[in-house]
Symmetry: C2
Subunit: 269 residues, 2 copies
Amino acid sequence: MPHPLDEAIGLTPTGTNTYSGATHPAYANMVGPFGGVTTAVLLNAALLHPSRLGDPIALTVNFAGPVADGPFDVEAVPVRTNRSTQHWTLLLKQGDVVCTSGSAVFAVRRDTWSDQEAVAPRDMPPVDSLARLQSDLLPPWVRCYDMRFPPGEEPFRFDEQAQQNSNTRLWVRDEPPRPLDFAGLAAICDNFFPRIFDRRHRPVPVGTVTLTAYLHADAGMLAAQGSRHVLGTARALHYRNGYFDQSAEIWGDDGCLLASTHQMVYYRA
Amino acid sequence: MPHPLDEAIGLTPTGTNTYSGATHPAYANMVGPFGGVTTAVLLNAALLHPSRLGDPIALTVNFAGPVADGPFDVEAVPVRTNRSTQHWTLLLKQGDVVCTSGSAVFAVRRDTWSDQEAVAPRDMPPVDSLARLQSDLLPPWVRCYDMRFPPGEEPFRFDEQAQQNSNTRLWVRDEPPRPLDFAGLAAICDNFFPRIFDRRHRPVPVGTVTLTAYLHADAGMLAAQGSRHVLGTARALHYRNGYFDQSAEIWGDDGCLLASTHQMVYYRA
């Protein structure tokens, strides 16, 4: 049996740079699919492309409009291939309507001086000491992840007690477990609930308009992480008249930074 | 006399979604133009477009290959326009070769609950207490800015004394002074010298491969800032086998966050 994520991001080639796919009920959100799975679908179109060079290091996805339940077409065009980098433009359409646009950069990495400047939180409680987020009343996609938040950092604390910042952490992995790969990591980049919920402790209408992910992990780091929980850390900088940003990091359980990700989110307060 | 930045980002319409422009010697970098001016050129194509809705809130520019000195063509396509958001795809070409690709999100903001969660540094020395960066030996574009770094945070300290982090701050404005607008702010988003120089105190070959900017400022905030120096803060998270990320914030001199920006940079160590 394939993993539901592999079913959800599965694509069938229909031409040189085009594929067909379909939304998957397991990854449904409030309206249309979970943005992380749409992100992984667009990345997968480049990953599967016969002209692919290297591995993804950066990805931007713009959520232009909702994706309706059902089939869609994906276009992935390698607009420029250099010796060690490759630039892609990405589109997801339903009929003639652009639902999602984006771009990706792939690269061939070479062993050289490397250094992680950022440091993972030292005081995160161990995975096994935390309970899994109860997701019965949440959109279906949340049940595709095992999420564990420390006390006081749980999402959806809608008690109207606004807090000073939106910093939260969690342990997260695919459910059922799935060995981490580039598509799975890209999907997890959109796992962080809207920071305005944490800041205001109040539900408001929200929607990600654009997401950028930087993938620091190579295939070896992903393989070393396997299907164990990764550690996520998130915060926002500025909520202003309808749009806020949020940034997050995804760390391996050895403290290695696997990805950093940023998004702008629409909100109605 | 137009400001050199306005000359550099000037575009002439050549069709529905196409423009012609040219590189400007004042904004030359080591190879080709300063990435910030290319970023501003792509944004300007959408800003000038007759179908434009609202103001830019997000922008991604992928530096696919060098821009040769001389003319170029720019394509800005509004791929989807909603009630309050508009999604653009952007391309800069020379002949049939894609030099730069990108995307932008424009939006109509509405007055609502707003809050800045991030806090500007409190101990930055005043602009007038700091000397302007000497740029005689640096690429031409650096002379298009008045940059002032606190002691110990100056760029290009190539004494091989690696430091623990790459955090630096500066005051910066256009030189000659120019009232801040969206294009000028987008250009400043690429003003931060490569973090690896600050981390290692050693020159290495570098090049930005992709840049994302989130514009938190609206036209009123830009007008309030005028042509005075803005405050920049920057850092990196992870240098790994040829690519590192860096993030930066651009603050008004009243402490208001005008923009946050992120990039992935190629390096050879």
